[in-house]
């Protein structure tokens, strides 16, 4: 067990002021259940879960309220017992300030659990275990909230070399993994053992930054107690972002997992220590993921870690720590990668590892942005070996293709580049902007491709119908001539059958009604137009009429 683990390190990184002491002085405390829980349905990567409850339903603690939508999704549960008072749009803990579907629960204070029973994963097939974890809502608790059941798959090789547990926790202020490792080392390692078995990994490496000696000691003691020789606790040098999954894998194993590829294909899988604990709870205790440890730190009187039920308002949580009066913002996550919340009344979700309380003094606004002088400091600290200034150069000018050529999507948005930039350029903002523009474009492109396929299919179908009709017509005329004589005898019959007559009357009546309505109903998008717009519309209409005229032979086939 005490084999000295060779370390590999990674390129770049910075050493910001860590500020971790304040929140580790006190042990984890359970945050009291609030008077109202707002539980967003969509708390993981993948499809948004479908709601299973409606207003008025009574739910128990741990009851599933949102069902995973497909396999790339994860279930959501009630954090405590109570009554559903609504399934509605609520403000999300997201920088956009937009709302999404949430289940709002009024707790009844009884904290009544659903029936819990441990899951015997050894008796179950791997697929069944993964389905169980999906329905238990277990996702990565490092902040990425990727559904864990998808990662508990050994991949192409069938078995893994290394399972990496990420306890590096490199972001300043955040200590939730630190205290978890100190206080719950044994169950954490049991979760790790479950994962190791599922992945058939030959060893488990727990990477912890060497500024957490207590956590390292606690886990080492626990590993000794567990008597599992495959588990190794490795202290990695303290350097942000050592806790990035790829950076930690590289530091511990020397393996670099390229962007867009699965680490399992390289024989490694990486989980956050919090996820290991959640898996322990789900498998051995039968408890779905309904709460997590959250660090409250920053501009507060007493920073501390709390066990918080999902859906608790950040405002209630922060209030427990006596925030200072000059507080001006709430950040979810750390100061390097965290997201500014649109309000303090947003719920704690699975991704909330830290609620950072900010003020002008603590996080002063950056000085005005200067032009990039290509000094290359950002390239020196980039842990992904990118050329951040080149990506910025093209992102700024909205030349996204070029930015992508410089591997924009390998960027992990760690913020090192912006941290060291002497021109104080919000580099990461430019990358986020460029990435979301490129994504949007990709979606548009896919839609366009689909539209093209559908259009071409339609043309094909019209062509086919035209041919069929022509064939039928030919057959009819041939048959018609034979019948002509017979038909002659019945020539007195009316041209239209009574049914046809009725149909025509109906259409005429409908058109009449429509005409009447047309005068009354004004579609919203054509009301209140300026004369210019009207002229424009007229011009467009004229052109369209022309096209219809050109396309007439086309349309007629359909008639």
């Amino acid at each position: 067990m005490n084999v000295v683990q060779k370390l590999f390190g990674f390129h770049g990184g910075v050493k910001p002021n860590y500020n971790k002491e304040a929140s580790t002085r006190l042990p984890i405390a359970a945050a009291p259940a609030p008077t109202r829980l707002v539980i967003p349905l969509h708390q993981s990567i993948g499809g948004p879960p479908r709601p299973l409850v409606k207003a008025g339903d009574r739910v128990l603690k741990g009851q599933r309220i949102g069902d995973a939508d497909g396999d790339v999704s994860s279930a959501v549960h009630a954090s405590t017992s109570g009554t559903v008072i609504g399934v509605e749009m609520r403000l999300m803990p997201h920088t956009s300030g937009l709302s999404a579907m949430c289940v709002v629960i009024e707790p009844d204070g009884r904290d009544e659990w659903v029936e819990r029973k441990p899951f015997d994963f050894r008796a179950a097939t791997p697929t069944a275990t993964r389905d169980y974890l999906r329905d238990a809502g277990v996702v990565g608790l490092g902040g990425a909230v990727f559904p864990s059941h998808l990662k508990l798959n050994a991949g192409k090789q069938g078995r893994l070399d290394t399972l990496v547990l990420n306890g590096a926790e490199c972001e300043p202020f955040i200590t939730c993994d630190d205290v978890l490792m100190r206080e719950r080392a044994d169950p954490l390692l049991r979760g790790a053992a479950i994962m190791r078995e599922m992945l058939e990994a030959s060893r488990v490496l727990v990477g912890i930054e060497d500024n957490k000696p207590e956590a390292i000691a606690a886990l080492e003691a626990a590993a000794k107690r567990a008597n599992d020789a495959s588990i190794q606790i490795v202290a990695v040098p303290t350097r942000y972002p050592a806790g990035g999954a790829k950076q930690l894998i590289r530091a511990l194993t020397g393996i670099e997992v390229p962007h867009g590829e699965r680490s399992t294909d390289y024989g490694v899988q990486c989980f956050n220590v919090g996820t290991a604990y959640a898996i322990y709870e789900a498998i051995e205790l039968g408890q779905p993921l309904i709460s997590r440890i959250v660090t409250v730190a920053g501009n507060v009187g007493q920073a501390r870690n709390y066990q918080v039920l999902f859906g608790t308002s950040m405002r209630d949580l922060v209030a427990l720590c006596s925030p200072l009066p000059d507080t001006d913002r709430i950040i979810m996550g750390g100061p390097m990668m965290g997201f500014r919340m649109p309000s303090d009344d947003v719920p704690v979700v699975k991704a909330t590892n830290c609620v950072l309380v900010g003020s002008q003094k603590l996080f002063p606004p950056p000085p005005p942005e200067m032009p990039c002088i290509r000094c290359g400091e950002c390239a020196k600290v980039c842990p992904a070996d990118l050329q951040p200034f080149e990506m910025y150069w093209f992102a700024r000018a909205r030349i996204f293709g070029k930015a992508q050529e410089y591997h924009l999507f390998d960027c992990i948005e760690c913020g090192c580049c912006a941290y060291v930039c002497p021109s104080r350029i919000p580099l990461v903002d430019y990358y986020r902007f460029a990435k979301s523009e490129i994504w949007a474009r990709e979606v548009e492109k896919e839609a366009a491709d689909e539209a093209r396929d559908r259009y071409e299919f339609r043309l094909l179908r019209e062509e086919r119908e035209k041919q069929e009709k022509a064939a039928k017509l030919a057959a009819k005329t041939a048959a018609g001539r034979e019948k002509a004589a017979a038909a002659l005898a019945e020539a007195e019959k009316p041209a239209r059958t009574p049914e046809e007559e009725a149909k025509h009357a109906l259409i005429a009546a409908a058109l009449e009604r429509a005409k009447a309505q047309k005068d009354q109903v004004h579609p919203e998008n054509t009301g209140n137009l300026t004369p210019e717009q009207q002229a424009e519309i007229a011009a467009i209409e004229a052109r369209r009429a022309e096209i219809r005229e050109q396309a007439k032979p086309h349309l007629r086939q359909d008639d």
């Binding site: 920088t95 997992v257 950040i331 990668m337 500014r340 900010g358 410089y406 060291v420």
Partner: protein
């Protein structure tokens, strides 16, 4: 309000530029000691012109004037121009040079950080092509009397007593145009002004720049790549040819300690804006400047090749960068190439 990261390291463009100016001071001090105070007049002239031109251009382009003026980049350009021009050049030569640098080479391209060419070198190349004789009149060593220098700058010019060609120019002219029997040793021995290493006085000025360069290295404002590659290339190629034919090719010490070699190595070649930025690119870029400098100095028509060499490599810099992109995390097994 800004997004993450909310922490920023205290660093600024301004402090970078100020430290570059600071690093130039030892060289300037030695310069004044050997060649008189004229260089200070030139620096002042260039600085004022640069600041005025910068302010005017910022105003015209609708940018915040004071903020950008305070970044100090215009001053760095101005000082470099003053230090590469002859100290007794007429005032208008410096002014026109600075204007060309600030207006054409810098602001037409969008100002700080956007210029593909080194502004100071554009000024030098433009002026030496336009006024080759004025750009070749340098003060004689030890002639530090201020009044004639002042008159040389602001008129009336009476130059004969105080001017001479730079050692580099003198050697080149002697080898190129004098009789075919001229040899390096003969030319260098013909006049005391060639000094011990690279021109009397000039070798010490170069040493002063070198001290400033070491300060910049220590401050991590520049990396070792460019100065080392530049100086090493110049050393190796001049040394190699001097060994091959010592009568026609002068040795490396002369090349390194005359002309703009030291100033170039630490202050001009290292300009991050117009140079290469990848580690391999930096080496290629600086080595290219070293090679071209030697070629132009040895075979070309102009007394010093650094300005042209820098501009030529500036042209090639984007292509070099494109083809020397370091492998990105996780893509290291593949060979580097165009991104």
């Amino acid at each position: 309000m800004n997004n993450s990261p909310y922490f920023l390291q205290p660093a600024s463009v301004q402090s970078v530029m100020l430290r570059v100016l600071l690093a130039l001071i030892p060289g300037i001090a030695v310069y004044v000691w050997f060649f008189g105070a004229a260089i200070l007049v030139q620096i002042a002239l260039a600085s004022v012109t640069a600041l005025l031109a910068e302010a005017a251009m910022l105003k015209l382009r609708g940018k915040p004037v004071m903020m950008f003026l305070a970044d100090g980049s215009a001053l760095v350009t101005a000082w470099l121009i003053a230090l590469t021009f002859p100290p007794i050049a007429p005032w208008w030569l410096t002014v026109v040079g600075v204007l060309a640098a600030i207006v054409i080479a810098k602001h037409l391209y969008g100002g700080l950080g956007q210029n593909p060419f080194n502004p100071a070198m554009v000024a030098f190349a433009l002026m030496i092509v336009a006024y080759p004789s004025l750009m070749s009149q340098w003060p004689a060593v030890g002639f530090t009397e201020f009044l004639p220098q002042w008159q040389a700058i602001f008129g009336p010019r009476q130059l004969d007593a105080i001017t001479m060609a730079t050692p580099l120019d003198a050697l080149r002219t002697a080898l190129h145009t004098a009789d075919a029997r001229a040899t390096v040793a003969g030319v260098l021995g013909s006049s005391a002004s060639f000094g011990n290493i690279g021109g009397k006085g000039w070798e010490w000025v170069a040493a002063g720049y070198c001290v400033g360069g070491i300060y910049l290295l220590q401050q991590r404002i520049i990396t070792w790549h460019m100065p080392a590659a530049f100086l090493a290339t110049l050393f190796v190629i001049s040394g190699g040819f001097a060994l091959y034919d010592p009568t026609r090719f002068v040795g490396p010490s002369f090349h390194l300690f005359t002309g703009g070699a030291m100033l170039g190595a630490f202050f001009i070649v290292t300009d991050p804006v117009s140079g290469c930025t990848t580690p391999r690119g930096k080496l290629i870029f600086a080595a290219g400047i070293g090679l071209l400098t030697w070629i132009i100095r040895t075979f070309g028509a102009y007394p010093d090749g650094i300005a042209f060499a820098v501009l030529l490599m500036n042209i090639a810099a984007p292509l070099i960068d494109m083809n020397t992109q370091p492998p990105v995390f996780g893509h290291k097994r593949k060979a580097g190439g165009r991104p």
